[in-house]
Every structure is written in C-alpha cells, then in structure tokens.
Amino acid sequence: MAMAMEAVAELIDVRKYYQMGTQTVRALNGVSLSFQQGDYYAIMGPSGSGKSTLLNLLGCLDRPSGGRYLLGGIDVATLSDNALSDTRSRRLGFVFQSFNLIAQLTVIENIELPLVYQGGSTSQARHRAYELAAMVGLETRTDHRPAQLSGGQQQRVAIARAMINDPLVILADEPTGNLDSATQGEIMDLLDSLNQAGTTIILVTHEDDIAHRARHVLNLADGRIVNIETAAERRRRFGLEVEA
C-alpha cells in the first residue's frame, strides 16, 4: 500500500478566469489539492461554486489560467491540444450524468472507443472491451445500441468505457443524476467496487448520500475550497454511525 500514497493528480494554486463581456468571472480562485492513488473524492458545492470548472480542468478538457496542474507528474498547462487529447485517451476515464454514449455504435464499440483513438491493435482492444462488458454485467448486450438499453445499463457501458484504458483517475460528473434511486445504488456500488480494486475516483455530486460513499468530500464555494472532510468526519457531522 506504499504505492497508494503517490499523488496521481496535484493542483497547485490553480485559478480559472473567464471573460464575460467586461467582467472577469473567477471560476476557480486559487485551489491547491492533491489526489492520492486509490483515492475517492466527492466534490460538492452550490451551483456556480466552480465544481464543473474544476472537473473540466482535472479532465484536461481545459487549461488553468494560472497555477499548475500535474497529472501523473506532467504539467498539463504546457501541453499541446494533441497532447491533451492523448492524455485524455490514455490516463483519464469519464462518466457523465447523461451517459453520453454514441448512438450509432454498439455497446462493445462504445466501450473500446478510447483505445481506437490511441491507435492500438483492434483485436486487443476488442478483447479488453468484452472483458469490461462482462465486468459490468452486460456481456449479453454487447451488440445492442444505446437506445435499446435502460439508463442504468447505459451508465454501466459508460463506466466500462471509462475503465478501458486503465485510467489514473475516473472523473464522474453527477453519475447518478439521471437515474432512479434503485439504479443509483447499483451504479454507485459499481464505482465503489472499482475504487476498492484501486481505481482513483473523483466525482461531482450534490447528493449527500452519494457523497457519503467517498473517502474525502471537498466542499467548494465561490471558486475556493471551503474544507475537505474525511468520510468519518462527515458521517459524524450528519449523525450517521461510523463504520469500524
């Protein structure tokens, strides 16, 4: 477990400013934070607090206006557009609120898509995709189109897709926001099990019972970190019993 203490992602005084007409919006105003290998973070905060901006930066979809973001030891701010794309395809996994599967592709094709952009051998990619489809319990649905699946099944496909490149981090943006509560539980159980197997997970949520599953909860407001609670502290605050 010595490896577990290695920082996979590190933010150092990260700022993100947007120009809205004459006004400068400070979406992130000096965020410093480091994520360890195998960590499980929930990011919470009211709308406009900078959750989405932080997730976009962590996901290499955007570059910080100031400060440094080190992903696996590499400063993302200095990377070219192509290098950012490659980073996304090799080191990150995304799970979105609205699943975001590609309609014309089958389940298996959706799962292997990140590997296609790495230009890897297709037969290997296909093999790995089938393994992951089995892992999320969809081995009988591999030739289906997303429209033929339920919301929960689509999100399973999305999770399998996020896992195909053995990412440093899985970034999940309200992964259960579009699901009923029973399915919510299933999806969160799946994410929990991935984390227990060693995958670092950062998720954005506004639901407390989702946040309770995380090891750390990051509270954001006005582009700043308000505090970072451990699961135990949080459960105590909510008057829940603390697991042994």
């Binding site: 979809l61 557009d81 490659d86 980073t87 996304r88 395809s89 014309q104 952009y117 051998s121 897709r161």
Partner: protein, 451 residues
C-alpha cells in the same frame, strides 16, 4: 532496441501497413454507420454527386462523340490533299463592254503544269474538268449531276471506291492514252440509281448529246456528304465520269448550257485540280506555295484553295470548344453536388455537436474528428461517383436513344473515367473539409453541454 527493430523491421512495417489499412476500413465502416442514421439524407446527397460526376463524364463523352464525327467527315476528303477549285470571279464592272459570248475563268492546263514543275513534294495532281450535261438512258433523262472528265488516279485521291470491287472498273490510264477517245463512263451511285433503277448498269450504255458511252463501273455511295457540301464541293455520287481526254476532244474548253431561255456559256478549262502532297505535315506550307504560284496568273481570284486538313483542324477546334462548354456544364453540376455535400455535412456536424464533444473527451484529436467527417463526406461522394461513373460508362448505349441528343454519338475515354474518381474524391474533400474543420475546432466543453 535498434537491433530488434532491424530484425523485425520488415514485419513491423507490414504490420503497421496492415493496421493502417484496418483502421481506414474501420473508419469507413463507422462513417457508413453514421450516414445510415439518416439514410434518406445520405441517398439524396449521394444523388447530387451522382448527377455531378455523371454529367461530367457524359458531357465529355458527348463532346468526344461530336468531335469524332466532325473529324471523320473531313477525313474522307483526305488530310494530305489540297483541292483547287475554279470559281466564277466576282462580277466585273466592265461587263457591259465585254460582249464576249463566253465567260472565261478558272484553272488551266498551264496551271497544272506549273504546279507539277514548281511545287515540290507533290505526289499527284489530278485534273478535273466538268460540264453540265443531260445524261440519257433510253427515254430516261438524268440532269441532276455533272459530266466529269478526269484521270485514273482521281478515284484514289478522293477515296472514291467501286460499289462492287469485283465488278467493273474506274477510268484507266488506257482511256486517257494519247490519241484515244474512249467512250466509257463510270456512274456515281446516285446517277446509277436514277438511270438504272431496275437493271444492272454495267455493260449498258448511256447517251450524252449524240454519243453513246458504255458503262464500265458504278461507284459506291460517298457515305457522309456533310463535309463536301460544307466545303461547297459537289456530291460525287451524282456525277457521271468519263475520260478527261474524251471530254476535251468532244467539247473543248467550253461549257454551253441553256438556262431560263437564254444561253450562257462558260469557258472553264479545269474545274478542279486535286493535289496530293507527300506528307500531311507540309500540307499547309504547300498550300501557301500553290497560292503564290497561282495568284500570279489569276489576278481576278477565280480559284479557291480548299485544304481539308484546315477544315479538319477547324472541326477539331470547334469540337474542342464544344467539349469545353460541355465540360463546364458538367463541372458546374459537380460544384452544385459539392455544395450539396457541404450543406448536408454542416447540418450533420451541428446535429452531432454533442457526439464531437464526447469523442474529444474520450481522447479524439482534432485530426480524428476531421478524418471522421471527411470520411463520411468521401463515402457519400464516392458512392455517388461510382453510380455517376456507371452512368458515364454506359452512355454510348443510352445517349443516342435519348431524343434530346438526336443520335449523338458518345465516346467514353478510359482516362476520363479514371479521372472521375479522384475528381469525385476531391469534391468530397474540398466541400467536406470546412464542415469537418468546424467540428474539430469546437470547444469540447461547449460541445458536451450541447443538447
């Protein structure tokens, strides 16, 4: 590492090539899948390219056909010949005091000798003298053509053949031998039909004035007469041919004919001199030389030089212009097809903004997105192009049957068809590039938020 890659370099390269091929095949398959989201839209777009590519090939084929036809027409006159034709000089203002009975003009035997002796590289000179005469067979009168006196090598110079090579003959050298006056005649196809509608003319006689001529040959139809009539040369099939010497002996240089009551007489020694030069490349130079020689003796300009090669060239040029026009029409249809592609691709890109965002988030580079949409545009154009090429290839069969084209020939050149594919692909790339570029340059965050 280097030694390993040295050993497996060839295999590695082969593997890379195979992988690239697989990747392209995969990209094509994905492109087709995406297009099949809207099969009707894809089909209509491909149709617009089909029209463009088809139009280019068919138009070029029609142009080629027209050009071919025009050239064939003049080729029968012989590209290596120069025809010198006697023409009535422009009316002279002193006609009132010129009370001479006969109007005298045109080419003479002197001209023939001068050409033979002064113009180099002349292989053949063919003197032709003709009269407007009625020809009779019994009570059947034929007055449609001319009685032409000429020599044995006339037929070859005019690409003029016997109707039946095994029967009869053309005028021979013996017919024109010094001191001979042979009463033989060769009938043009038209003349033969008119004079002998039912019988075989060979061995029969025809009457010109008081003299009887034995028919020794019948010529084949001249085929396409457009070229000769375009050059204002008479229809060879209408004439009756006799030895030049016979004609000169009986009629001398005068041609007397009665026209609407009053008698007119023309004195034309030679109607035509046909000159065959040794090589096609010098035809035009020799024509200029001939003109120099003749103009000195014919200040009134009572002759005309006809160079079939020039006519061939003109026909080629006008056919080329026609082809350019047709190609331009085809090209415009192709551009219209391209605009159709661009329109559809722009709509597709907008509609699939979110898909672009997803793909970018999953690690697609801008180039991947460009490639994806370009391939979709290419699939559409190549599909349309394929059917366009088929329409073009089959055009020789269906174009003459379309009433609009009225028996127009279509000739498809392989080079044009081979060109059509890169052109179609080029249209796909050119008109697909901007939509693809727009897709690739979307902000992935904005694209992901797109509903």
């Amino acid at each position: 590492m280097s030694s390993v890659s040295g050993n497996t370099g060839a295999i590695g390269r082969l593997g890379d090539a195979l992988r690239r091929r697989l990747r392209l095949a995969r990209a094509m398959r994905m492109g087709i899948k995406s297009l099949l989201l809207h099969p009707m839209r894809a089909a209509l777009t491909a149709l617009s390219v089909f029209c463009g590519v088809g139009a280019v090939i068919v138009m070029l084929a029609i142009g080629e056909g027209a050009s071919h036809k025009a050239q064939e027409q003049f080729r029968t006159l012989g590209a290596d010949t120069i025809i010198i034709h006697s023409i009535q000089p422009p009316k002279q203002d002193d006609s009132s005091n010129n009370r001479s009975f006969a109007v005298s003009y045109g080419l003479t035997y002197g001209d023939l000798e001068r050409i033979r002796s002064t113009v180099p590289d002349v292989n053949l000179t063919v003197p032709v003298r003709d009269l407007r005469k009625d020809v009779w067979h019994g009570s059947r009168r034929y007055s449609d053509g001319r009685v032409v006196g000429t020599v044995s090598w006339y037929a070859a110079a005019q690409h003029f053949r016997l109707a039946d090579e095994t029967r009869g003959r053309w005028i021979s050298d013996m017919d024109n031998a010094a001191g001979r006056v042979n009463l033989v005649a060769v009938l043009g196809a038209n003349a033969a039909r008119e004079l002998f509608p039912l019988e075989d003319p060979i061995g029969q006689t025809v009457q010109i004035d008081q003299r009887y001529f034995r028919v020794v040959g019948v010529m084949a139809d001249q085929g396409d007469k457009t070229a000769r009539s375009q050059l204002k040369l008479g229809d060879l099939s209408k004439n009756v041919y006799i030895p030049l010497q016979t004609l000169m002996t009986y009629y001398g240089p005068l041609d007397i004919s009665a026209r609407s009551g009053n008698r007119t007489a023309e004195e034309v020694a030679l109607r035509e001199i046909i000159v065959k030069v040794s090589d096609m490349s010098i035809v035009e130079a020799r024509a200029r030389a001939l003109d120099n020689v003749l103009s000195r003796y014919h200040p009134t300009g009572d002759y005309e030089l006809i160079v079939p090669l020039k006519a061939i060239r003109q026909a080629e040029e006008s056919a080329r212009n026609f082809t350019i026009l047709l190609a331009a029409i085809g090209g415009i249809s192709l551009i219209v097809g391209g605009i159709g592609i661009m329109n559809v691709m722009l709509a597709t890109v907008t509609e699939r903004t979110r898909e672009v965002g997803i793909r970018r988030a999953l690690g697609a580079r801008k180039s991947h997105i460009v490639t994806q949409f370009l391939i979709e545009a290419l699939v559409l154009t190549l599909l349309g192009g394929l059917f366009g090429v088929l329409a073009g290839l089959t055009s020789p069969y269906w174009v003459p049957k379309v009433p609009l084209f009225k028996d127009q020939e279509a000739i498809v050149r392989v080079s044009q068809v081979l060109l059509a594919f890169p052109i179609a692909a080029g249209v796909g790339i050119i008109f697909g590039l901007y939509p693809a570029w727009r897709a690739a340059n979307m902000d992935p965050i904005e694209a992901l938020r797109h509903e």
